[in-house]
């Protein structure tokens, strides 16, 4: 092997990393201790944060990238991949996270957006990105900017799965409706979706997104996680749902098993026994518009 010919950060490497996460649970953690619990429970990766989304909601103010010291402590503790969030459009936060060596960056609506016009040009980075989406057009716009993984936005920090379900159904339903369309019809559809035509054509022919598609935003129980898997997700992110529950260790293990056995209700029943209280949820419809996170980004 000629060492000068090594190619880093190619699209294949970025999307390949995302593929290795499939069938897995990615857990939000705010400390090295929580990261260890997540790894022991069988998480495929952890998301290193200053606060979980439920606490970001409660704290208010401007939510930013986590302290690099905390991220580094978490990276030093676990051997599974460590992800971290940058604000929408804040490419310097993303540069900082890349220089720390995080394995994937989440350009996330959970943090306060830094740019209301442009998302980060993700193709310029060596590390892969995951981005939130509510519908197919949004998902494909992010893919065209270089996202290697898409997740539903849901409504983070609510413990209410309804928005994740809505966004997942919107994306997968739209993909099904592309089936059987002729190429000129797909090009027209691409204009309506405000997405690049070649990505719409690729999505139509493969009948799935060009990248891995996870669910996020409100998943709080093993049944919630299995629901998203049965709806066609490749895996799940669990934010506040684990460390805001009464027994995080049990909840973390139970959600991992529910994702592994997503199609076996008896197993989901068994792992759901005696978990104590899940996180306290919020009614999404009662949120004032300025507290809704999913409308950040476009």
């Amino acid at each position: 092997m000629i060492l000068e010919d090594l190619r880093f950060g190619t699209e294949l490497i970025k999307r390949g990393f995302a593929s290795m996460q499939k069938g897995g649970v990615i857990m939000d953690v705010v400390s090295a201790e929580q990261a260890g619990i997540a790894e022991d429970a069988g998480a495929v990766a952890v998301m290193a944060l200053e606060r979980v989304p439920a606490d970001i909601r409660a704290a208010g103010g401007v939510a930013r990238m986590a302290d690099p010291k905390k991220i580094t402590e978490i990276m030093d503790t676990v051997s599974i991949p460590v992800m971290a969030k940058a604000r929408i459009g804040h490419f310097v936060e993303a540069q900082v996270l890349e220089s720390l060596g995080v394995d994937m960056i989440d350009e996330s609506e959970v943090l306060t957006p830094a740019d209301e016009e442009y998302h980060i040009d993700k193709s310029r980075f060596t590390v892969p990105f995951v981005c939130g989406a509510r519908d197919l057009g949004e998902a494909l716009r992010r893919v065209s900017e270089g996202a290697a993984m898409i997740r539903t936005k849901g409504e983070a920090g609510t413990g209410n799965v309804v928005e994740a379900v809505r966004h997942n159904r919107a994306i997968l339903g739209e993909i099904r409706r592309l089936k059987g369309l002729e190429e000129i019809e797909l090009v027209r559809r691409a204009r309506q979706l405000e997405a690049p035509a070649e990505l719409v054509i690729e999505t139509a022919s493969r009948q799935r997104l060009p990248v891995v598609n996870f669910s996020a935003g409100g998943i709080a129980t093993p049944s919630d996680a299995a629901l998203m898997m049965q709806l066609g997700s490749d895996g799940v992110f669990v934010g506040s749902g684990i460390f805001k529950s009464q027994q995080p260790e049990l909840m973390a293990k139970a959600i991992v098993e529910a994702v592994n056995h997503w199609n076996e209700p008896a197993v989901i029943a068994e792992v759901s026994k005696g978990l104590g209280e899940a996180m306290r949820g919020l009614d999404v419809h009662a949120l004032p518009p300025e507290e809704v996170l999913q409308t950040r980004g476009w």
């Binding site: 000629i2 090594l6 880093f8 490497i13 390949g16 593929s19 991949p81 394995d103």
Partner: protein, 210 residues
């Protein structure tokens, strides 16, 4: 933690037509399935490729792929689903990539969270090249393959020691990245996502001919 595999007698492999299984606990399972399907089609064979989630499915397979993914997660689920002994006593071919290599090792350096499956006498070091930003694509010389193989290394492990009964197929300055032990092919990289399927061809012809 593990149960013995009592299932061997109930389902004997059917020569030639037995399906190829892909361990479907976590990781790039669908990529492995479609890579094997492509190669089987090219070979003109009539063999199914199936995702495997239960121990009783293993003995009747002709081969089992252990995919890429997170080795800690996959090992945890192998034990949780009582698959350890069925995989260890499986006599068909094993095609292991990346996390699959970690799972197949006799020994994993500095790993205390799980005991690997010991499918070959190798010592493996996890994330040997570093973090994701150090993941790379490269053309790799593999014994018997010309031109070089297009290899994709993603947070890849490396073999730091191979026993005398293990055949080394590819080695780079950092260590060994491909070995064969009888019908077991163990790789640091991911041929299932690089679209270079020559190792799949080689594996299936080795497995199906023995």
């Amino acid at each position: 933690m593990s149960m013995p595999c009592h299932l061997k007698r109930c389902s004997r492999p059917v020569a030639g037509k037995a399906p190829v299984g892909v361990l479907a606990l976590q990781g790039d399972v669908s990529e492995h399935i479609s890579a094997f399907e492509t190669v089987i089609r090219e070979l003109g064979q009539d063999i199914r490729v199936i995702p495997v989630r239960k121990p009783e499915e293993i003995p009747s397979l002709s081969a089992l792929a252990i995919p890429g993914g997170e080795s800690t997660t996959i090992m945890r689920l192998i034990d949780k689903n009582h698959m350890r002994e069925c995989i260890r006593s499986f006599e068909g071919g094993i095609f292991a990539t990346c996390a699959g290599m970690v799972a197949s090792a006799r020994e994993v350096t500095e790993e205390t969270r799980f005991t690997p499956l010991d499918l070959a006498d190798i010592t493996v070091s996890r994330n040997a090249f570093g973090r994701q930003r150090e993941s790379f694509e490269a053309d790799l010389s593999i014994n018997g393959f010309e031109p070089p193989f297009h290899a994709v290394f993603i947070r890849a492990p490396i073999i730091t020691r191979a026993g005398s009964d293990v055949r080394v197929l590819a080695e780079i300055p950092r260590g060994i990245v491909a070995v064969q032990k009888d019908k077991r092919l163990i790789l640091s990289f991911h041929p299932e996502i690089s679209h270079d399927l020559r190792l799949h061809h080689y594996f299936l012809s080795e497995v199906l001919s023995r």
